[in-house]
Amino acid sequence: MRPETLHTQAPPFELDTFLEGVWKENPVFVQVLGMCPVLAVSNSVVNSLSMGGATVFVLVMSSAVVSLVRHWVPNQVRIATYIVIIASFVTVTAYLLEAISLDIYNALGAYLPLIVVNCIILGRAEAYASKHPVLPSIVSATGTGLGFILAIFTMGAVREVLGSGSFLGVSLFGPHYEPMTVFILPGGGFFVLGALLLAISWFKERNKRGQA
């Protein structure tokens, strides 16, 4: 680490840093990171939003702390340090969520502590927060976090609407709708994510062709 040289660098334009994480470098759809929670707890909108919220909280807080301590952490033990910082915030989040809503806490189950090994968070810590001052790190983490929420919310919405015929627990199509249960089963998660990735690459391909 050469903090002296990095310190003198002009901070990058922050709106760009922010938007990059949301769409162009979307952690789920573009970088294909952090798939476990996206597939596992996206069977309803409530679950996916609370998972998204918890992850973003951990992401932003740990990015801020990693960025704060970046001058004092020796290079050899940096990954271990980041993991401990992240694990601390995940523990805080788990206890917070347990106090706020026991139902959601139980629905997320073991996937809540598993936020620790979400590669998005460690990726942000290693690739951005360890090299940049606190403010840009927070901005970048928030952008990436919003991108993650966008992805997991889309998954949750598609799966709940198709699989249970409801949105946020409110029935959409009346009592005669036969829900396509496959979409809230594990297999449906793979299908929906595959279809979303397909749609995005089709969209990009079309844009590219339009420009040429």
């Binding site: 597939l39 993991i83 620790v116 590669c119 594990p186 297999g187 279809a195």
Partner: protein, 193 residues
């Protein structure tokens, strides 16, 4: 303590609730390394090994922290132990079997961030397994992970020869395949009652 028989614990972890296909743990290596069959099997064995060691360690930690009344440290302790275990396993293999080390070498560091390993530790705590049950569970999960990875690798090797639209190639297609696999694994649902 649950009274599930060891056979059921094993079957449940390996096939009925397969770690990759129904619990979505270890998706990253599943998507990343499932290109070739022999690497898939090697990765599976490495994961199984680390799972067994870290499961035994996690059992000890859980009871130690319970005795000390410091359960809130559990997550930090687990992740630290897993990282240390991976390092230890790497050193032991390097010392005793250089051939195996060359085969597994590059995969070992990747395993630290494999959610399946932490998943085993968390699930066995959540389900209150005894020591023997925990070990069986870890072994079953490792077998399940290897099965899923190997099947996927086999399918993808075949796919390389197929004429697939360029748009679908890559992650999207792998995910669709995984979906079909996951649905077919649900057929094992009634097994072991």
């Amino acid at each position: 303590m649950t009274s599930e028989s060891l056979g059921f614990v094993f079957l449940n972890a390996a096939i009925i609730n397969n770690f990759v296909l129904s619990l979505f743990l270890g998706i990253c290596p599943f998507l990343g390394i499932s290109g070739k069959r022999d690497t898939a099997i090697r990765m599976g064995i490495a994961v199984m090994f680390v799972m067994l060691v870290s499961s035994a360690a996690a059992y000890g930690i859980h009871h130690l922290l319970l005795a000390l009344g410091a359960v809130y440290l559990e997550l930090i302790a687990y992740i630290a132990v897993i990282a240390a275990t991976v390092q230890l396993v790497e050193m032991v293999i390097k010392k005793f079997s250089p051939a195996l080390f060359r085969a597994l070498g590059i995969f070992l560091p990747l395993i630290t961030t494999n959610c399946a390993i932490l998943g085993v530790a968390l699930f066995q705590t959540l389900r209150d397994y005894s020591f023997v049950q925990s070990i069986t569970f870890a072994f079953g999960s490792g077998v399940g992970f290897t099965i899923a990875l190997t099947i996927m690798a086999g399918l993808r090797e075949e796919l390389n020869l197929a004429d697939v639209p360029s748009l679908v190639k890559g992650t999207a297609l792998t995910l669709m395949l995984a979906g079909i696999l996951s649905l077919s694994f649900m057929g094992f649902g009634g097994l072991g009652g």
